[in-house]
């Protein structure tokens, strides 16, 4: 399989705090890969570093062969990466449709509005509501939906199931499997590894700003003790 993203020796800092200490992992085209790890392990920081949103970072992040470590976030996005942040980032002063249409289309191959409404019927019903008047689950769907339109091939989803009801979690699981079927590549941050097991091909485990293990999804059942120890659950 062709390599899509290769992170090596990634270090990142917020001011004086050194958060990532040499993160190494790779994702191949069409894979769904998770980053598992306890709170504060550096998962969000890793995603923000890939997007260029961390003020100071070093090492190498190659996307489809292009080195992105020194690029601005908008340049990185235009290479074909879509970011769905942990706090969802729905804009209060924009209605649902404006939120959905906000990210510019950067390449052909994204979902059409009809396809998106088919995946997320609520977004069609609530098209004119202010974005932040939606329920938490609907906001999460909107946050995912808006990066499906743009033609980005690698999607970074930071804890999309956090704090949501089981039916919504299932819907998000179906969405991830559907977009994988369509050939998208996904990097998923999760705390809930039961959920992660239903969607992912491989799992990386993060601790204290490093990747400490990699587990193929097929081996997950055999590795539960190891995972419990890592995640402290």
């Amino acid at each position: 399989m062709r390599e899509m993203l290769a992170v090596s020796g990634l270090n990142a800092w917020y001011g004086e705090s050194h958060i990532l200490h040499g993160v190494d992992f790779r994702i191949d085209e069409g894979e769904v890969v998770t980053l598992l790890g306890r709170n504060g392990a550096g998962k969000t920081t890793t995603m923000k570093s890939i997007m260029g949103l961390v003020p100071r970072r070093a090492g190498s992040i190659r996307f489809s062969g292009t080195e992105t470590i020194g690029l601005r976030p908008d340049r990185i996005a235009r290479l074909g990466i879509g970011f769905c942040p942990e706090e969802r980032g729905i804009f209060a002063s924009l209605d649902v449709t404006e939120n959905l249409m906000l990210p510019p289309v950067i390449a052909p191959g994204g979902l059409s509005i009809d396809e998106i409404h088919e995946l997320f019927p609520n977004l069609k019903e609530r098209a004119r509501s202010p974005g932040t008047k939606l329920s938490g689950g609907e906001q999460q769907m909107l946050a995912i939906a808006r990066i499906l339109r743009t033609g980005a091939r690698l999607l970074l989803l930071d804890e999309p199931t956090e704090g949501l009801a089981p039916v919504i979690v299932q819907q998000i699981g179906r969405t991830i499997r559907e977009i994988k079927k369509r050939g998208f590549t996904v990097l998923l941050v999760e705390q809930n590894f039961q959920f992660a097991a239903t969607v992912a091909d491989r799992h990386y485990v993060m601790e204290h700003g490093r990747i400490i293990d990699m587990i193929a999804n097929a081996d997950l059942a055999a590795s539960t003790d190891r995972l419990h120890a890592y995640l402290g659950v």
Partner: protein, 294 residues
């Protein structure tokens, strides 16, 4: 002569019109400040000086190049807007990572330097700028005579304010601007060149100030202090309307102009302080301003 509340009608309407004209300038200036504050998080103290430069630009275009009022109305905002872009690129953009206070100090300093340079060159007694022939004279409205140029100022300001509002609230470009005002890094991570957007927004806000300056040139004489006379009140308008609120700055701008005009009729002693009294009351009751979020 007819009377309203014991006041002669023509006097009342005359002051109302004056209030509306001042309100038109408050609205145009505070609108630009609001747009700039929203996206750049900088209180642009140079706004009054840039307004003054707009008026001077019109005067120079006429004096040195023979370019008249109507072309100036278009050219001065472009020229001064380009100057604003230059300021943003070379100076202001260096301060985004620092405390707000630095932006305030820089733009305040810029205002002093710009006004000083103009005072040095042109003195402070003021240069005349004639009303364009097509807008000279006055119209009998039945209840009062309205100088045509003043009517035009109110209409032109209202149109520009409304167009700006519609652009921000009703278009895709406006959606990008609103979104970047809320969370610029996220918008940038969608592939939008936010730094360029910030620069152009500053230029547009400055262009609005310059447009107001050209409108003002025939009413007030063109002089280096014309901006600082306005700008203190305009900051009060911005605070009353709610920092960064687009609609707030337009409505509050016109509204406070009228309040000021009416105060001149009913209690002239308070006319120069009434806006600050309103500001104090609004801040006590609604600290975020009349239209402010949060």
């Amino acid at each position: 002569m007819f009377m309203i509340f014991g006041i002669p009608g023509p006097l009342l309407f005359g002051q109302l019109l004056l209030g509306l004209i001042n309100g038109a300038f408050y609205a145009l200036l505070s609108l630009g400040l609001a747009v700039i504050f929203g996206l750049l998080n900088i209180v642009n103290f140079a706004h009054g000086a840039l307004f003054m430069m707009g008026a001077f630009c019109a005067w120079m275009l006429l004096e040195y190049l023979g370019i008249g009022y109507w072309w100036s109305l278009l050219l001065a905002p472009i020229i001064i807007g380009a100057f604003g872009i230059l300021l943003e690129k070379t100076l202001i953009s260096r301060l985004y990572k620092l405390d707000h206070l630095y932006g305030l100090l820089l733009t305040f300093g810029l205002a002093m330097v710009i006004e000083g340079l103009f005072r040095n060159q042109y003195g402070s007694s003021g240069l005349p700028y004639r009303i364009p022939p097509s807008l000279q004279g006055a119209t009998d409205l039945g209840f009062m005579f309205m100088p045509n140029y003043r009517g035009w100022v109110v209409v032109a300001a209202a149109i520009v304010c409304f167009t700006t509002w519609a652009l921000i609230e009703r278009t895709r470009l406006g959606a990008l601007l609103r979104a970047a005002t809320e969370n610029a890094p996220l918008v940038q991570s969608f592939g939008v060149n936010v730094p360029r957007m910030v620069t152009l927004t500053y230029g547009a806000g400055v262009g609005l100030a310059a447009f107001a300056g050209v409108l003002a040139a025939p009413i007030y004489s063109v002089n280096p202090n014309m901006g600082s006379n306005f700008i203190i009140v305009v900051f009060a308008v911005v605070v009353i309307g709610g920092m960064g609120s687009i609609l707030g700055s337009i409505v509050t701008g016109f509204g406070l102009g009228v309040v000021e005009g009416l105060t001149k009729v009913f209690y002239p002693q308070a006319s120069s302080t009434v806006i600050f009294v309103v500001m104090a009351i609004v801040l006590l009751i609604r600290p975020a301003g009349l239209f402010g979020r949060i």
